[in-house]
């Protein structure tokens, strides 16, 4: 194993017992297809995807079922051909245990693909933005567990180094390990594509030193490739070296500045499985519809790695691997440090499911209630972000939001190192999740209450306007009435006078006529 360049260390971290051998005894096995597939509309970080199909539609394998909700979102594709039976809420793998919208598809087992137009080797002639569009349309997200939409990260500005994360630092998980052992060349092809998009000069593949076979496989593949673009970097096995920020510190020696992105240091990280998925998308026009998942733990009969279609129920996967043992305890999605336990196995595999861990009952079961914090400081020693977990615990349990933010609560990556070493058995990560979600909830409520305040003020303003307008109208009306009555009375007067004058005139006329008549009569006599 060549230790090519000088690498740095990050602060803190733990050495854990890995149990990788449980699931690396066999090659990747393919899961048989199920009858029903349940595909959640949110399997990625960002906005939920918008469905394009409705119940009753027939869909083909690889057809886009849902388009990205906005920029930070991903497309979702059908893993099989069949008929959409429903779009409704169902249990999804999420730490809250809450359900979410899912598309239900009945498999017709015909495996009919949509029409595909692969770019294959010609991708070199395409522009970065068209390649990014293909990756986005293929619904590719980070397959290391975080599920961030990959094309959004692939900026062309300033990136010199592409780091392929083959570290896989959590115990029990081996999906990246076996992928590197069996499909090393495809991974390098995928990395080549990414390198072409972001115009990187170098690709460093980081692998922990407890994976000698994977290192050898990648080395062999690199030797076949003569461009000199690739380099393997073996790093010591410390948890959590696989975290993006920690890995960047190890490889480059620099820390990503707070609230900024790795691109500013000129690096981009992708998981090896993501690189493989990108290879399949560009070379074979295959969207992301399957992944390698490790099914392992002392509670499952035949731990192994399986290639499984997204949307397969987890119960089928466990059955494929021999079923539960008698002393199986919990079903966990992810690794033992950062994974969350699920309350049922009738939940689908999603893009982020890198591992299904079934634990067996431990001899000393974890106590339900914990002792008080004795301020021993072990948690401070192991934190990879150099936080003070102890102080965060005190402030989280007393809900002191100001101090939590001062102590950089949102920089916590929830790796679990602190809770692992705590002698008082305090579930520290749960306290931080409580604190973070509470603070987010308060921010949402504050925004909502600001809007409600504005609406209320406008409501009052509107009522006052109405009142004012009504009064204005009344006032005008009153004025008008008053004017009219004034006019009428003056008219009255003049008309009265006119009537009198007329009457007088008539009387005079009559008199004059009468006089005239008398005169004429006198004359005739």
């Amino acid at each position: 194993m060549k230790q090519t360049e000088e690498i740095s260390k990050f602060d803190g971290g733990l050495t854990l017992v890995a149990y990788k051998h449980l699931s690396t005894g066999s090659t990747i096995s393919t899961m048989e297809q199920s009858k029903t597939y349940i595909i959640p509309l949110q399997q990625h970080i960002g906005v939920i995807s918008q469905p394009l199909v409705k119940p009753g539609d027939r869909v083909l394998k690889g057809q886009m079922l849902a388009k990205p909700g906005n920029m930070i979102s991903a497309a979702i594709h059908s893993p099989i051909s069949g008929v959409v039976t429903d779009i409704k809420e169902h249990d999804v793998p999420h730490i809250s245990g809450l359900p979410d919208q899912c598309i239900f598809i009945d498999n017709d087992f015909k495996d009919e693909w949509i029409e595909r137009k692969p770019l294959a080797d010609n991708y070199n002639q395409s522009t970065s933005s068209s390649l990014r569009k293909i990756i986005r349309d293929a619904g590719i997200v980070g397959l290391g567990g975080a599920a961030f939409p990959s094309s959004v990260k692939q900026t062309e500005m300033n990136i010199k180094t592409l780091i392929l994360n083959g570290v896989e630092c959590e115990p029990y998980i081996t999906c990246d390990d076996v992928l590197m052992r069996e499909r090393a060349e495809e991974i390098l092809s995928g990395a080549d594509i990414i390198g072409h998009i972001i115009k990187a000069r170098q690709c460093i593949i980081a692998i922990e030193d407890n994976k000698p076979e994977a290192i050898k496989a990648i080395q062999t593949a690199i030797e076949k490739d003569s461009t000199g673009f690739f380099k393997v970097q073996v790093i010591p096995t410390i948890y959590p070296s696989g975290g993006e920020k920690q890995l960047i510190k190890i490889i480059t020696g620099k820390e990503v500045p707070k609230s900024r992105y790795p691109a500013e240091l000129g690096v981009l990280c992708h998981n090896v499985a993501t690189a493989y998925a990108i290879y399949r998308a560009i070379y074979f026009a295959e969207p992301l519809i399957s992944r390698i998942t490790t099914v392992t733990g002392h509670g499952v009969a035949q731990p192994q790695n399986i290639e499984v279609l997204i949307g397969t129920p987890m119960s089928s996967c466990i059955k494929h691997c021999g079923g539960y043992t008698d002393d199986s305890d919990e079903l966990i999605m992810g690794g033992p440090m950062m994974g969350f336990s699920l309350n049922s196995d009738n939940i689908p595999i999603i893009k982020a499911t890198n591992c299904l861990l079934v634990t067996a009952k431990a001899k000393n079961t974890q106590k339900q209630k914990h002792l008080p914090c004795i301020r021993c400081g072990k948690c401070v020693e192991v934190c990879p972000v150099r936080l003070l977990p102890q102080q965060l615990y005190w402030y989280a349990s007393s809900k002191n939001i100001e101090r939590l933010i001062e102590h950089h609560l949102f920089d916590c990556i929830e790796c679990g190192c602190c809770a692992y070493v705590c002698p008082s058995d305090i579930p520290l990560v749960q306290y931080y999740r409580f604190a973070k979600t509470t603070i987010w909830q308060q921010e949402r409520e504050r925004k909502a209450s600001d809007i409600a305040r504005q609406r209320h003020e406008f409501h009052q303003h509107r009522l006052e306007e109405q009142k004012r307008e009504r009064e204005e109208r009344l006032r005008k009306k009153r004025e008008m009435l008053k004017n009219k009555s004034n006019e009428k009375t003056s008219d009255d007067k003049t008309s009265k006078q006119a009537a009198i004058a007329e009457a007088v005139a008539r009387a005079q006329a009559k008199k004059a006529e009468h006089n005239k008549k008398k005169e004429t009569e006198n004359k005739t006599d």
Binding site: Q42, I48, D100, P427, F434, Q441, A452, R455, H456, H459
Partner: protein
């Protein structure tokens, strides 16, 4: 003796002048405390605090006429924030004014029953009900604050309270059990 009196008198008048000048020069317009208090209230405008809305309640607190624990929609978080702002003691919510809701609520109009009388539209303090006389009324749920002021005026009782369930996108984790050692069974 005499000099002492003169000196003290001079010092007192000097400081008095300084204070008078500062009172005029650095006078703060308006009553900003009311704004700060209002910023902490949830703006439900429900009236459970016995005041006509959140702003009147804020003014009452600023004047000292109302206590800080009269707001059920604000819950414990609001009481703590107000206590922090005004430097008073945190008190539990005054149960006379209502209970804290476990889940946020909105209202929904049953369209089969609505007669289009507009009484609920007039009652809503944030204009969250859309409709006109003899036209269908509907609640814009995104703007409904859950104050429930529209329910009493409705002559046909067609407005129902609906709980807003948390989703994976806006859930809050629970605080772990903090009882360190199991209490003695009583």
């Amino acid at each position: 003796m005499f000099t002492v009196i003169i000196t003290l008198a001079i010092i007192a008048s000097v400081f008095g002048l300084v204070l008078a000048y500062s009172a005029i020069r650095f006078k703060v317009e308006g009553d900003p405390v009311v704004d700060k208090i209002d910023a902490l209230l949830p703006q439900t405008q429900c009236g459970q605090c016995t005041y006509a809305g959140c702003r009147p309640y804020a003014e009452a607190i600023a004047k000292g006429e109302a206590d800080i624990n009269q707001c059920p929609p604000g819950g414990e978080a609001t009481i703590i924030a107000l206590a922090d702002l005004l430097d008073v003691e945190v008190k539990p919510l005054n149960a006379e004014h209502g209970e804290v809701k476990t889940l946020p609520t909105v209202v929904r109009i049953d369209e089969q029953t609505c007669i289009g009388c507009t009484l609920c539209i007039q009652a809503c303090p944030v204009d969250a009900i859309l409709g006109a006389a003899k036209q269908m009324h509907t609640v814009i749920e995104a703007e409904c604050t859950g104050c429930n002021l529209c329910i009493p005026p409705c002559p046909v009782d067609c407005i129902h309270i609906v709980e807003v369930k948390p989703t994976v996108r806006n859930w809050t984790a629970e605080l772990p059990d903090v009882e360190f050692v199991a209490p003695v069974a009583s």
